[in-house]
């Protein structure tokens, strides 16, 4: 099977400081990869390099495009990469304010992404927006409200709807449940898990929350000081960690 994403030797330095170093992995269709590590471990740098938000110093990010098969995203032209970001890729930010337009309506936020890929029929766009609000459990009556009038959990669900409306194949998520109440987190996890399965999505989820990756991710990558220090099946890495740092990380979680 062709991997959806094939990352080879990806490195990014900030001056003399390591962002991430020599990261290689493959992601297959339908897989959810979790990336864990403490603050400053390089996981967000890696995610942003993969998603084209940051330019890495070296390496390859080969994506299996719909039209032309596997292509290195890093050597694509900027318009091509931007098109990918609007169609096959989605990026869910930790802070919904970074992924939403706060001054336009909820329906507009979802519709805008559709218009960016050529949808023009107002009725159809509004219908698709209403359908997606329903899927992320936002009442249709709120379609004309601005996200600034929404709770944090609703904003995060709206951001997910905006991202998934174009039927992407790969979703990048940066701490998608960070900063939310645990009850809201559970609801969001249920939603993400359901969407991943029903839409056959692949996802890369960066988080420091080991409980979140245990429930969401098939595979895990543990990062420390910019390096990948351990990889494997999620439950195996969490239950039988091999690297000293992973053992420390797992044993540091408070039990409830």
């Amino acid at each position: 099977m062709t991997p959806l994403l094939d990352v080879q030797g990806l490195s990014k330095h900030y001056g003399g400081r390591i962002g991430c170093a020599d990261v290689s992995f493959r992601l297959y269709p339908g897989e959810v990869l979790g990336i864990v590590g403490e603050s400053g471990s390089g996981k967000s740098t890696l995610l942003n390099c993969l998603a084209g938000h940051l330019g890495p110093d070296s390496g390859q990010v080969i994506f299996d495009t719909r039209g032309d098969g596997p292509r290195d995203v890093l050597t694509m032209s900027e318009p091509e990469r931007r098109m990918l970001g609007r169609t096959d890729w989605a990026f869910v930010h930790q802070n919904p304010r970074d992924g939403l337009r706060m001054r336009i309506s909820a329906g507009g936020n979802v519709g805008e992404r559709l218009m960016a890929v050529g949808a023009r029929h107002y009725g159809e766009i509004r219908e698709a927006a209403a359908d997606w609000l329903g899927r992320v459990e936002i009442a249709e009556a709120r379609i004309d409200d601005r996200p600034s009038a929404f709770s944090g959990g609703m904003q995060q669900r709206l951001q997910i709807a905006r991202n998934l409306v174009t039927g992407p194949r790969l979703v990048f998520m940066d701490e998608p449940t960070g900063g939310l109440d645990v009850s809201v987190q559970a609801r969001l996890l249920d939603l993400i898990r359901g969407l991943v399965r029903r839409m056959g999505l692949s996802a890369i989820v960066v988080t420091h929350d080991l409980a979140v990756v245990r429930l969401l991710a098939d595979r895990l990558m543990v990062m420390k000081d910019g390096h990948v220090i351990e990889t494997g099946l999620t439950d195996q890495v969490l239950d039988d960690p091999q690297a000293p740092y992973t053992q420390l990380l797992v044993s540091s979680v408070l039990q409830v």
């Binding site: 559970a186 609801r187 399965r197």
Partner: protein, 226 residues
């Protein structure tokens, strides 16, 4: 179906002075289709460790574990995921689920993950929940709020939803009342009759005698300390 050869397992505790604790050495056994094998031995002898290695949850340091032709000690994560989806089931003692997911969906999930039609998957889930006497009014609720015994029965229903050719059972009848215990033993007997290769840990001796064809004493695999 399950072929374990010369298996070895150590735990290295890096944060406790790098202590290396050998727990299993030279474990070899086979389980054929339609056969149920009980792992026996004192508490701490390594029964659960063996089960977890068979499921790919613990890494082995040596030897091989072939299940349905795949050596899980060397397989890539996605190969183990596919094996767990299609071939290898595991009923653990603890239910771990995404909060808020209804019980019916928790039980149907292994079938949905295999791409089975929703109506067939949910019909099977309803049948199992009925047989395991989980009241219908609870099916739409998340099992995270259930009692320990109810959670265990949901876990069993989920573990038996798909007819896995290889099945690992960790104390499947612990803390069940007589009626539910009988139901679980029948599920195990049905799985055997359908050709499943089963490895189980049973502290319930009567249950072990009834379903297990033979016993493997894991103390034979306990490394001798110098």
């Amino acid at each position: 179906m399950i072929h374990v050869a010369n298996l070895a397992k150590n735990f290295t505790l890096h944060n406790q002075g790098g202590a290396v604790i050998p727990v299993i050495a030279g474990a070899s056994f086979r389980v054929e289709p339609g056969e149920c094998v009980a792992l026996v031995g004192e508490s701490g002898a390594g029964k659960s460790t063996v089960m977890r290695i068979l499921y790919g949850n613990y890494l082995a340091q040596g030897g091989s574990v072939r299940i349905g032709g795949l050596d899980i000690t060397r397989a890539a994560p996605r190969e183990i995921l596919a094996l767990r989806r299609e071939t290898l089931g595991y009923v653990s003692q603890f239910l771990r689920v995404v909060p808020r997911v209804p019980t019916l969906e928790v039980v149907a999930e292994p079938l949905l993950a295999l791409g089975r039609p929703e109506d067939a998957a949910f019909a099977r889930a309803r049948d199992l929940l009925t047989r395991l006497r989980i009241p219908e009014r609870l099916w739409s609720l998340s099992p995270t709020t259930f009692s320990g015994g109810e959670q265990q029965r949901v876990n069993i229903a989920r573990g038996f939803a798909h007819a896995y050719p290889a099945l690992l059972l960790d104390e499947p009848t612990a803390s069940l009342d007589a009626t539910n215990r009988e139901t679980v033993l029948r599920l195990i007997e049905d799985a055997k009759a359908n050709g499943a290769a089963i490895v189980g840990i049973f502290h319930d001796l009567a249950a072990r005698d009834r379903v297990a064809d033979r016993e493997i004493d894991v103390q034979a695999f306990t490394p001798r300390l110098p």
